[in-house]
């Protein structure tokens, strides 16, 4: 990486400009450079925060026919596609989904080729040991490896450079207008790969979709996913995919930072106790299914509660049975005291807990199976892991919806070309990563598939862009 790069970039036309320096962008850049193209990566974040949401990730999902050094058993193409169909309820671009799954088999080799290191699943995530390859040290370590490889391949990287507009002539990309250090410049290239993620850190845009509730959302990832490029492309007549409210959102600790809190703010205590809103009332079956299958609906559930607040309440019997949160529980010796500490109406909370306790049927508690501890005659019910909340100290955690990413994106074809509203692909504009993930997932999520989309589609986009530039 040369010094004074920001002044250089404006003066030279590149073969491929990659907008966005997360996993998808880096895979596109490496793939394009591998094909012989001169590549520039324009990254909005400063170097310390480069990598978009990928810096918070930890694995990617890949099919494999036999056990490997890091993945157990087999995860067939059909099973993987079936999982995608199930979580999206069929709302997916089936050919693209199948292409993704097939290409995922090669992802571990690709990661390693550029210096990334993989490991078997972490302790406590053994349910992913068959399907997901984990990055040693997590996604930021992987991004460091990719940036290191990019540097060795002579790829230029501009940090702290926000793309504020795209030069588009008759639907052709000519340049990206970047704003770096207060100056606006054009980065010209023969082709562009758009890999700028979703728009989840653009609160204004979220408010368009969610109303005032959006102000109470916590953004789990990078503050740099403002969706500017997505908006520019939609305004220029690119076909949208997904809707603006579609997002991956989980329950996070309400004390989390507004942005970039990543993995440590999530709370896994919900299925072990009850969850109430700020009126002190339960609102959903906390034990509906295994937490890994259900945690991603809780963001939406809390978003629909008054003031977008909820509280997870557990007692001493289950303390230590869930991953420790980064924030300490609020501890009280009685439910009423807990209510006061959590600023909940004590009478209502007391009634809620009493009604729940009275409805709990005896059973044998086993967190590792869908056990027979359930409530009877309670609405909403708690279907599994229902134990009375009766053993002090009682623990409470305040919860907020935490958005991981949004699904609204750009429609692409199987060559990662952005499709315009006339149905034709843009001549030299490609998209990869979360900005086009909606093609594959318009709702629902399975762990690690975001990084697979970024890797597979990023590689395709980079290769196609390099091919286009060469002609």
């Amino acid at each position: 990486m040369r010094p004074e790069l920001a002044t250089d970039v404006a003066s030279q036309p590149f073969d491929v400009a990659v907008i966005g320096g997360g996993n998808a962008g880096l895979c596109a850049a490496l793939s394009a450079a591998d094909a012989g193209a001169r590549v520039v990566v324009v990254e909005c974040a400063p170097k310390a925060f480069r990598g978009g949401n990928s810096r918070h990730t930890r694995n990617l999902r890949c099919m494999h026919d036999a056990p490997t050094d890091i993945l157990s058993d087999a995860y067939s193409e059909d099973e993987y596609v079936g999982d995608l169909m199930r979580v999206t309820e069929g709302r997916t671009d089936a050919p693209l989904a199948r292409l993704l799954v097939r290409a995922s088999a090669d992802c571990p080799a690709w990661v390693r080729r550029f210096g990334g290191r993989l490991q078997p699943s972490l302790r406590g995530t053994l349910h992913l040991g068959r399907t997901n390859a984990f990055f040693l040290g997590g996604g930021k370590a992987l991004m460091n490896s990719y940036y290191g490889a990019a540097s060795r391949l002579g790829i230029d990287v501009v940090y702290d450079a926000e793309v504020v507009g795209l030069g588009l002539v008759d639907g052709r990309f000519t340049a990206a207008r970047i704003c770096a250090g207060g100056d606006a410049r054009d980065v010209r290239a023969r082709a562009a790969v758009l890999a700028t993620g979703g728009f989840e850190s653009n609160i204004e845009w979220l408010r368009d979709a969610w109303g005032d509730a959006a102000d109470n959302f916590i953004i789990r990832g990078t503050p740099y996913n403002t969706g500017t490029v997505l908006r520019v492309m939609l305004d220029a007549g690119a076909q949208p995919v997904g809707d603006a409210r579609a997002c991956h959102a989980i329950a996070v600790d309400a004390r989390a930072p507004k942005f970039d809190g990543g993995i440590v703010t999530r709370l896994d205590s919900v299925p072990l106790g009850i969850a109430v809103n700020n009126r002190g009332e339960r609102f959903y079956d906390e034990g509906e299914d295994f937490w890994p299958k259900r945690y991603a609906i809780w963001g939406g559930l809390i978003a629909r509660q008054p003031d977008q607040m909820a509280f997870s309440i557990v007692d001493a019997k289950v303390a230590g049975r869930f991953m420790p949160s980064v924030f300490p529980p609020i501890v009280a010796s009685s439910i009423r005291e807990l209510a006061r500490l959590l600023d909940l109406p004590p009478d209502t909370l007391d009634t809620t807990v009493a009604a729940y306790n009275a409805a709990v049927r005896p059973g044998s508690f086993d967190h590792s199976v869908l056990d027979d501890c359930r409530t009877a005659g309670l609405h909403p019910p708690k279907s599994h892991w229902a134990l009375p909340i009766d053993t002090p100290p009682f623990w409470g955690y305040p919860l907020r919806p935490g958005i991981t990413f949004t699904y609204l994106g750009l429609k692409v074809d199987e060559r990662a070309r952005v499709l315009m509203s006339n149905g034709e692909p843009a001549a030299n504009i490609y998209a990869a990563g979360e900005i086009m993930a909606g093609n594959i997932l318009r709702k629902g999520y399975i762990a690690g598939v975001g990084m697979t989309i970024g890797t597979v589609i990023g590689r395709i986009a980079g290769g196609e862009a390099a091919g286009h530039a060469a002609h």
Partner: protein
């Protein structure tokens, strides 16, 4: 959990601040766990939900400062959580050296280290010995050709008495410190301290396995991994052991067999000493150069003096020792011997109160980790995966 907002710098932190920072860091790490397979620190951390001071001391001494977890960390500065595990554990490590040191009052020495201080002490001790020799054995000192006989300058009995008593004290202090550390971090039943666990910990310490646990070498900056730190450390530690062995063999020669120095260049003690001395030149010099080039974010700036004074003493002791070997038949031998002995004495005295102790505490921490791992088969050793 209030993120502690403090700017990195050579400021002196209070024990309370250090412990609070350690707890903050470990709480974030324990909720994340992405670094789990880098080294034993993280699996050991996961066994705990809360972090008392003793837990932090254990984890801090388990850390080899390979640096991987800083660059991998999504919460590293300038993130508001400000997580820098290598530096935080380095700060706790220094505090643990002070805390477990025997006699405890000498713990203050850990803060007073500096290359200049060490050299001043060495010069003072040299002068003292020079004065003593001048007074008691002035003729030998004025002799133009002492014929390579060190004992003609400082009699054997004096050397044995001086270095024997200092050595005994040093061993006692090191042993007491290590036992204090062990007792504090390994509470509960003594069970599990098996020969296997001892062997395992010892092996890992002697091979520095956790500077390349994952199959690649440790970092000196982001995406910069080299084996040099490990190899220079090996040169240093094995150089030290060889030099120690050389002295031991010479002592056996003298007392058991009555074979008196000077020994031939091809003799066993001289060969051992020469090899050891060479290691103690290359190792410390290499470590010094690496230290200067390493990303400063990985270390505790307050420990520069601690590290560099030890490096300087090892290097100068070895240098004067080797010069003494080469020049033992020259007139310069006598003053050189006294300088060398002054340095050795300073080095010895600083062993229980300087960087040297890290080897003892780290080995003990590795043994404890082996005990813990054996007790919990589900604790996957970091090395089982690549």
């Amino acid at each position: 959990m209030p993120p502690t907002d403090r700017t990195p710098g050579p400021d002196v932190l209070s024990l309370q601040q250090i412990v609070a920072q350690g707890q903050h860091v470990m709480t974030v790490c324990n909720a994340c766990r992405y670094c789990e397979q880098f080294c034993p620190v993280f699996p050991a951390m996961e066994e705990r939900l809360t972090f008392a001071e003793a837990d932090l001391n254990y984890l801090a001494n388990l850390c080899h400062n390979c640096g991987e977890c800083l660059y991998a960390c999504q919460y590293a500065p300038p993130h508001e959580f400000g997580i820098n595990v290598p530096r935080t554990l380095a700060e706790i490590r220094l505090r643990s050296y002070e805390q477990y040191c025997w006699p405890r009052a000498f713990g203050a020495a850990f803060k007073a280290h500096g290359t200049l201080t060490a050299l001043t002490l060495a010069a003072g001790l040299t002068l003292l010995m020079f004065a003593a020799t001048w007074t008691m054995n002035g003729d030998a000192l004025r002799e133009s050709n002492p014929g390579g006989d060190f004992y003609a300058i400082v009699p054997h009995a004096v050397m044995v008495a001086l270095f024997g008593s200092v050595g005994l004290f040093v061993l006692t202090a090191l042993g007491a410190g290590t036992i204090r550390f062990w007792r504090d971090v390994h509470r509960g039943p003594a069970a599990g301290l098996t020969a296997a666990a001892l062997g395992h910990g010892w092996r890992e310490a002697m091979t520095l396995r956790h500077l390349h646990t994952t199959g690649v070498d440790c970092t000196s900056a982001e995406e910069v991994r080299t084996p040099w730190r490990r190899w220079f450390h090996h040169c240093t530690s094995y150089g030290f052991l060889l030099s120690f062995a050389s002295t031991t063999v010479a002592a056996i020669y003298h007392t058991v067999f009555g074979w008196h120095a000077p020994y031939a260049y091809s003799s066993f003690p001289v060969v051992l000493g020469t090899l050891g001395g060479a290691g103690l030149l290359m190792g410390p010099a290499g470590l010094f150069a690496l230290r200067r080039r390493r990303d400063p974010a990985l270390g505790d700036p307050a420990q520069e003096g601690l590290d560099e004074s030890f490096i300087a003493l090892l290097f100068l002791t070895s240098l004067t020792g080797l010069l003494l070997l080469v020049l033992r038949d020259r007139a310069i031998m006598a003053p050189l011997l006294l300088v060398h002995l002054g340095l050795v004495l300073t080095l010895f005295l600083s062993l229980p109160y300087g960087k040297f102790v890290h080897g003892f505490y780290r080995t003990a921490a590795l043994v404890k980790y082996a005990v813990e791992t054996a007790a919990r088969p589900d604790v996957r050793s970091a090395s089982d995966t690549r």
